[in-house]
């Protein structure tokens, strides 16, 4: 009896014994880690995915297993293994020869969309970003994201993202895990992200997993390439306004790699000879700075299979300045504006055991803007000198650690904690002045503010039969002056797979945001100021619920439909008529107001993934409202970017291996605007001389955003001429922005219009509204190369 019991226990133990296959999934050619690659055991019908660092772990019962590793655009590999101990297996997938499958995918890991718990998330392959026709041929990550459902652009040509009714400051934009505070060059026309240095782009619009926090509306995760571990390679382009060069390769093969990528505009370089010529014929010297640049750099070192270290950095700036010097009297006058980001991260990956992976990241992010003016003049041998410099910005130092724990195929647990020390420089003016009998060196404006933001989270991706769920909690706290805010944010995502392979999905998430951007609704400027929540200004909060369905159709197509409702509290806006000049006013809290917002709608995403023709159709039907006590008489009104219909149609067609055509058509309901509806005249006396009384024409505005500008639509086209050699590839790209030259409205204003008779005499004057457009048809050419 005892023996039988022991046999049963042993049999049960053997049967219940489990072992883990773990390792990294990489690109065979470059050694780049493949993020969210799939692995699947056909026998146990269990699977897992690789994390951001290519690490995977799959624990299965002791048995013979048949594990297939796959990643979109790569040839799958299958391993037959006898799993009688823990196995370390690093997998190198070969890139598919025909990369027609490289497409945007609404599924996180290239597996079928209906299998994913995560909803409201879109992965955007960099190859696809590069195919989308771009303004002036300058590939732009953010403008491609604007073509996705649920994402709207701001003004014409702007890089701002309005995700599900949120404003641009409600997007957490991470470059290698580090927040980026200013994402644009040239007043928002170009983004700071150089596509040649980027490996992956993932946008999450809702159903936020617990690991994300700190912003209300979206998380945009951009990961830089790690650098080729095998061979030295490069790529670059010469475009209409910028040129780029990216170099990558092994420093120590299979151990250490580097990547360095630079981009610069060169309008100033073109102008230099003309300026030099003009200066030589003039009594004045004119110096002109007019450029922006980016530099991305990364080093990746593999100590062994357990430890890896990544060091990455981004340095970018816009420089606009001029200086005029008088050759005769040595006087000069100059001024300008510079702004830019410095971002760096040190990441340490530690595979603690086959089931547990840790990543620790030290981050630094700084955004600075300097506006300066100076003059120097000489009077009778004495020098008068004046210099004023306005500076502001934000600086973060952060530390975070994240754990991935994969106990079995039915659970994927993530947990971690982070702390960020924010330094706000709300704006100060330094003035230096000196002449014969007067000296001044002073600082006007705000002192730095400081705050600390803490967060911790835990989440589990779990599975019960046909039901998958991601359940978690994000907790955060914020210390500013004597105020301490806390927030607990539950998150849940569900996916139920129906028998016909249609997935029904639902999610609920709450978010809290402790820092705010003081900006106008109409235009983002580099002078916009980041400020913390304070005693008076409460943290912004939101909750969002989404439901949807997803299905793969005919193997080549993916369809997803989502409906969502998002409510936002304590959103921030300027009071009516308030203006903010460079943050020099200490009473910014008095000029803003906090209120309520809601956004709801329906999104459809239909895409073709394979074949010579690929692309997608995105459609968003949405409503987006705001309500503030101090605005619009306290009544609810449509947000400026309340856009009822938003359509994007993106396609790429490979005519043959040498010629590819790309097109993107966008349509959006016109932006909501406030217009004057009636006018009258008031009289203001001059108290010292009544004969000088003034009459002022006043226009009274409609209720807030009660009108619409004309609808927006635009077609962009590009054609690529490709020539490939064994070690060299070149591409000519001809792009046309706004091909049919549609007058897309940028703003609208009241004016008068006079008609004239044939003799040129005025016949009639009418009052009208005029829309102003800024970007007509713009053709451009660029030359791209790879080696």
């Amino acid at each position: 009896m005892t023996t039988m019991f022991l046999v049963l226990v042993l049999a049960g133990w053997v049967h219940g014994q489990k072992f883990t296959i773990s390792g990294y999934i990489e690109d065979a050619a470059t050694g780049e880690k493949l993020i969210a690659a799939n692995l699947y055991d056909a026998r146990s019908e269990s699977g897992s995915v690789s994390n951001t660092y290519g690490f995977y772990s799959l624990t299965l019962p002791k048995d013979s297993v048949l594990v297939t590793f796959s990643y979109i655009g790569y040839q799958p590999q299958t391993f037959r293994l006898l799993l009688n101990k823990n196995i370390e297996l690093n997998v190198r997938l070969e890139s598919a020869l025909n990369l027609a499958e490289v497409v945007v995918t609404a599924s996180a890991n290239g597996s079928k969309i209906e299998e994913e718990t995560q909803m409201s998330q879109i992965d955007l392959p960099v190859e696809q970003i590069k195919k989308v026709p771009a303004l002036l041929g300058e590939t732009d990550v953010l403008k491609t994201i604007q073509l996705l459902p649920g994402v709207q652009s701001g003004g014409e040509g702007q890089t701002g993202l309005y995700v599900r009714g949120g404003s641009p400051d409600q997007n957490l934009i991470l470059l290698d895990g580090v927040p980026v505070y200013n994402v644009s060059h040239v007043l928002g026309i170009f983004s700071v992200f150089n596509a040649d240095a980027i490996k992956t782009v993932t946008l999450t619009k809702g159903g936020f997993p617990s690991r994300y926090g700190g912003r209300l509306s979206s998380v945009l995760e951009i990961n830089m390439k790690e650098g080729n571990m095998q061979e030295f390679h490069g790529e670059g382009s010469i475009g209409t306004i910028t040129s780029k060069l990216t170099l990558e390769g092994p420093i120590w093969k299979d151990k250490t790699s580097f990547l360095i990528s630079g981009r610069r505009t060169y309008v100033d370089l073109f102008m230099a000879p003309f300026l030099a010529s003009a200066n030589s014929a003039s009594s004045e010297d004119v110096d002109l700075d007019l450029y922006f640049y980016d530099l991305n750099a990364k080093i990746n070192h593999k100590f062994n299979d357990k430890h890896r270290l990544y060091l990455s950095g981004y340095f970018g700036a816009d420089v606009f300045g001029t200086k005029i010097s008088d050759k005769a009297d040595n006087s000069s006058f100059g001024g300008g504006i510079d702004w830019g980001n410095v971002i760096s991260a040190a990441r340490w990956n530690y595979k603690i055991n086959p089931k547990l992976f840790k990543n620790t990241t030290l981050t630094y992010s700084r955004y600075n803007i300097d506006i300066f003016t100076e003059f120097k003049e000489n009077f009778s041998g004495a020098e008068n000198r004046f210099q004023a410099k306005y500076f502001s910005g934000i600086e973060d130092v952060g530390l975070k650690t994240d754990f991935d724990y994969v106990p079995d195929p039915d659970h994927y647990i993530r947990f971690g904690a982070a702390a960020t020390y924010h330094t706000y420089k709300p704006g100060a003016l330094a003035i230096e002045f000196s002449d014969q009998d007067f000296n001044l060196d002073t600082l006007v404006g705000s002192q730095n503010d400081y705050s600390v933001e803490y967060s911790a989270y835990v989440e589990d991706d779990l599975r019960f039969g046909n039901l998958k769920a991601n359940i978690g909690l994000h907790a955060s706290a914020f210390q500013v002056d004597d105020k301490f805010y806390t927030s607990f944010q539950p998150r849940i995502g569900l996916n139920y797979l129906l028998p016909n392979d249609v997935a029904l999905k639902a999610s609920f998430s709450t978010m809290t945001q402790y820092i705010n951007l003081l900006t106008s609704e109409a235009l983002s400027l580099p002078t916009d100021l980041w400020v913390p929540s304070t005693d008076k200004i409460k943290p912004q909060q939101s909750w969002q619920v989404a439901v949807g369905a997803a299905k793969t159709l005919w193997d080549d197509f993916e369809l997803s439909i989502e409906g969502y409702y998002k409510e936002m509290n304590n959103v921030i806006s300027f009071k009516e008529g308030a203006s903010f000049l460079f943050g020099l006013e200490n009473d910014w809290e008095e000029k803003v107001t906090q209120g309520w917002g809601e956004s709801y709608g329906l999104e459809l995403f239909f895409q073709k993934k394979k074949g010579r023709f690929t692309g997608w159709l995105g459609y968003t039907l949405s409503w987006n409202n705001r309500q503030f006590d101090d605005i619009n008489g306290g009544k609810k009104y449509p947000f400026r970017y309340d856009r009822r219909h938003d359509i994007s149609l993106v396609g790429s067609y490979e005519l043959n291996k040498k010629v590819h055509f790309n097109a993107a058509w966008v349509y959006g309901t016109g932006n909501a605007v406030t217009l004057p509806v009636y006018r009258y005249t008031v009289r203001e006396p001059d108290n010292f001389n009544d004969a000088w009384a003034n009459y002022v024409g006043v226009e009274s505005q409609s209720s807030k955003n009660a009108f619409r500008m004309s609808d927006y639509h635009r077609l962009d086209l590009s054609v690529e001429f490709i020539k490939k050699r064994p070690n060299w590839e070149r591409k000519w790209v001809i792009s046309i922005y706004n091909t049919y030259n549609h007058n897309n409205p940028y703003f609208i204003y009241p004016d008068t219009e006079t008609t004239f008779d044939s003799n040129g005499n005025p016949v009639d004057t009418e009052r009208v509204f005029k829309e102003v457009s800024i970007l007509p048809i713009i053709p451009s050419v660029s030359y791209q190369f790879k080696f």
Partner: protein
């Protein structure tokens, strides 16, 4: 060569399309503005120390109306206090309604007055306001080249110290003029040249509309110094002549007037800025638009050195 042909054709096509529209950047668009029921627009700013008080009356029009805003000349305008009603007759030369008190001052501090404007074509407009008490100017100084502006230019500094009235919220508006005596035979009169700039770095200062001041008139609320004296530093780009005098006037105004001046200044400053937040000018006129304000004046003079 074949590729170059493609390039050429595309650029040619693009250029052709670009040239199709003569004026790309501006387009007249139809906008359906809801019908507007015209109301009376009233500007009545009465200063306690003045003998003559003017009221300007016009009417509002739809923004797309072809008509011009003209004065309404045949309205009935009355001012009343505690049941005593006074008509304000139309004064044709100025196209204003003018009340000449003569030697019997009508407006007294802390009394409440109602203005009523009626006309058969418009709803009757009215407003009520209380005359505030005057502030006391404790000190007023002018220092030539006493400070610098934010661009480094040396400018004259003006220092004003006012004594605030306690237990009430007060709002003050400042104006300044250079004056000199004009002697004509045995008659001596003063000529006033209002300064064209009066600016402060004080964060409490807001600016209210004045046609001569780009920045506007400096205004201040006593929220942070209620019942105490307050020293306000200003500077001006004007360079008054030595020997002349500077006159500072401090007007006590009510909140409606203070907000009206601020909103009018903001409206004028942002009128041509398509990126600014839209501004509605504050009105305290019931069934109409405009402003009815009662102001009390304190004045002080300093010799320019």
């Amino acid at each position: 060569m074949k590729n170059l042909k493609y390039i050429f054709l595309i650029i040619l096509g693009a250029s052709f399309l670009a040239s199709c529209d003569g004026d790309f950047f501006e387009t007249t668009v139809p906008v359906e503005i809801p019908p507007h029921e015209s109301t009376l627009a009233v500007s009545a700013i009465f200063i306690g120390q003045n003998e003559v008080h003017d009221v300007y009356v016009s009417n509002s029009l739809s923004i797309l109306s072809k008509e011009d805003n003209l004065s309404v000349n045949d309205a009935t305008v009355t001012i009343s206090e505690a049941g005593n009603e006074t008509d304000i007759p139309f004064y044709l030369p100025e196209r204003l309604y003018r009340l000449d008190e003569g030697n019997t001052p009508l407006f007294e501090a802390e009394k409440t007055y109602t203005i009523t404007v009626s006309h058969p074509d418009f709803p009757t407009a009215s407003a009520t306001a209380t005359m505030p008490k005057a502030a006391r100017i404790v000190d007023f100084k002018h220092e030539r080249d006493g400070t610098i502006d934010e661009s480094g230019y040396e400018v004259d500094e003006i220092t004003i110290e006012i004594e605030d009235l306690s237990h009430e919220t007060n709002y003050y508006v400042f104006e300044m003029a250079e004056r000199y005596a004009y002697i004509n035979g045995t008659d001596t009169s003063f000529v006033y040249n209002p300064v064209s700039s009066l600016i402060s770095r004080d964060p409490l200062v807001r600016y209210g509309f004045h046609a001569n001041f780009y920045e506007g008139l400096p205004m201040i609320s006593d929220a942070t110094f209620n019942g105490h004296t307050y020293q306000l530093k200003l500077y001006t780009y004007d360079k008054p002549q030595s020997g002349n005098q500077l006159v500072i006037q401090c007007y006590s105004v009510n909140k409606a007037r203070y907000d009206y001046l601020a909103s009018l200044q903001s409206f004028v400053n942002n009128q041509d800025n398509p990126f600014s937040e839209p501004v509605n000018v504050i009105s305290n006129i019931e069934n109409g638009v405009g402003i009815f304000a009662l102001q009390n004046k304190a004045e002080r003079v300093v010799e320019v050195e």
